[in-house]
């Protein structure tokens, strides 16, 4: 994407930066909310696996939303 005509000069994210950031945000979201879901599962006494699954879905959704806000637009 080096000679893409409509890229902004200084604020544009490089392709390496974007790939790393997408992976990092996704992993961070899934880890944080998966972990919180796992904790909540222990406290609330939900059957095992429900909390972590819901947490991971939520985290992935939040991460994708964040990626679109930060990098997509």
């Amino acid at each position: 994407m080096a000679d893409n005509p409509d890229r902004e000069p200084s604020d544009a994210h490089s392709s390496e930066g974007v790939a790393g950031a997408v992976l990092g945000y996704l992993l961070a979201g899934i880890l944080v909310w998966g972990f919180l879901g796992w904790l909540a599962e222990g406290f609330l006494g939900v059957p095992a696996g429900v909390g972590i699954a819901v947490g991971m879905m939520l985290g992935a959704a939040a991460a994708i939303y964040l990626i679109m806000k930060r990098l997509g637009a």
Partner: protein, 74 residues
Amino acid sequence: MDVLAALEGNLNTVGYGLAAIGPGIGVALVFAAYIQASARQPESAGFNRTWLVLGFALVEALALFGLVLAFALS
């Protein structure tokens, strides 16, 4: 019952290996489509990039589910 094959170690690694097949193909398709689109129509590259990032993120999330679950489930 005769044992035909046995596996030592953690089965989660095999599970993650299987879970990575689909997203691997998916990521390849996403990038192939992006490269093809911007080769045919270079001026659309900036516009398509948003959808590239979204598609990559959606597909890669599945692989990361597998990665996290491989560590989390015991």
